[in-house]
């Protein structure tokens, strides 16, 4: 696979949030305002790239019996590092992300990329894969939060539209989050011309390269 494809597959074709449906929890929880969604996207992208690089470097050292605990320790280390940095230098962003910053540890996108990609590929490809997935995650959060902030708060990136618009509070509640999430997934499905087949074969599955089931799911 070329390096460009390694990077670009995360943006639309294998978008972690909108196609693979991973990391739904932070996607719904941190997209009430564009600024916190971008902060979350940036923090996750940083952790994703760093953990992919380190895990790719360590892939021959880590025995397969303890690979998941090792991945989680590395990921948790980077997440704690990011939270120390944000707490001391960007306390406002740290406040707005709240508990979801520490929950990046258990974000399935990061563990998923470590298991499916970084532990099988070289360092450069793993870093690009992490960057692509991170950009895809951030873009998905950006689109979701833009829709929710514009409709639900009557502002965008903190700039208010003025008093003529009465915000629809529904869109920043959790229910509105699911509504926007479903709509965005549907639009991405149309864009990628992905239609469910009558018999859902493995060739349609975004995880087919890493899957050991071979049709047993």
């Amino acid at each position: 696979m070329s390096y460009w494809k390694t990077f670009s597959k995360g943006i639309l074709k294998e978008n972690p949030v909108l196609v693979m449906l991973l990391g739904t929890c932070p996607t719904l929880a941190t997209t009430t305002l564009v600024s916190s969604a971008l902060g979350m996207g940036a923090a996750t992208t940083f952790v994703l790239i760093c953990s992919n690089v380190v895990i790719s470097l360590l892939k021959r050292v880590i025995p397969k019996e303890v690979r998941l605990p090792c991945f989680i320790v590395v990921i948790a280390g980077f997440v704690t590092f990011v939270s120390f940095i944000l707490q001391s230098y960007l306390p406002d962003l740290y406040d707005s992300l709240g508990i979801f910053l520490s929950l990046i540890v258990v974000n399935c996108i990061i563990l998923g990329r470590a298991e499916m990609f970084a532990s099988k590929n070289n360092v450069a490809a793993s870093a690009l894969d992490g960057l692509g997935m991170g950009v895809g995650f951030t873009l998905a959060l950006f689109i979701m939060s833009s829709v929710r902030e514009i409709l639900g708060c009557g502002s965008w990136l903190g700039f208010s539209f003025g008093n003529w618009y009465e915000p629809m509070i529904f869109f920043i509640t959790p229910a509105g989050g699911f509504f926007v999430f479903g709509t965005v997934i549907a639009v991405v499905g149309i864009l990628t011309k992905k239609r469910p087949k009558k018999e859902f074969g493995c060739e349609n599955c975004p995880s087919k390269d890493a899957c050991a089931q071979k049709g047993g799911c």
């Binding site: 941190t30 019996e65 320790v73 704690t80 707490q87 001391s88 406040d95």
Partner: protein
């Protein structure tokens, strides 16, 4: 040999990785100084909040040593002319006990609220953060005794109720300590 490969090597590798990560984090903790971020307000923060919480008095706020307060009373500050007091309190909102709302509440000698500043909060952006709105906080101005007459905010019910409880707590604490400060 099987035992060595299946049990000892994985254990050693995992221990070494965990130890390395812990050491690097301890180093970061020292460098960033996260542990030194105390609960007290810095001089810059006091200078920023003083005109908000006590708009009618000028001059800076000074920490007043007061031991009798409850755990949610984080600090007591008095202004230079000794006719206004600001209570630094915390109250549990939507963020839970580990992420309380911290507010600074300014009162005059008669126990009337002069102004409120939100020092920090981890409420939901767009919903709970509406309690930080200046227009909303103005509803508390002039209130004494009990803040129950102030309405909560639709879509920020838990956060605004928590703030109101915090203000009521501050008003109670004020009754206890006013004799000592304005003696």
């Amino acid at each position: 040999m099987g035992k060595y490969k299946n049990i000892i090597v994985p254990t050693v590798v995992l221990t070494v990785i965990a130890g390395l990560v812990a050491a690097l984090l301890a180093f970061t903790y020292e460098v960033t100084g996260v542990g030194d971020l105390g609960t007290g307000l810095t001089q810059e923060e006091l200078a920023e909040y003083a005109p908000v919480v006590l708009p009618e008095s000028d001059g800076s706020l000074q920490l007043y040593e007061y031991d009798g307060g409850a755990a949610d009373l984080l600090g007591v500050y008095v202004n230079e002319s000794k006719d206004g007091v600001a209570l630094h309190i915390q109250t549990v909102g939507y963020g839970g006990k580990s992420k309380p709302i911290e507010a600074l509440i300014g009162l005059n000698q008669n126990g009337e609220i002069q102004g409120i500043a939100i020092v920090s909060s981890q409420e939901t952006p767009g919903l709970g953060t509406k309690i930080e709105d200046e227009e909303y906080l103005k509803n508390y101005q002039g209130i004494s005794g009990s803040a129950d007459s102030v309405d909560t905010i639709t879509s920020a019910t838990i956060s605004s109720t928590a703030l109101r409880d915090g203000v009521n707590f501050a008003l109670e604490e004020f009754e206890k300590l006013k004799g000592e400060i304005f003696a």
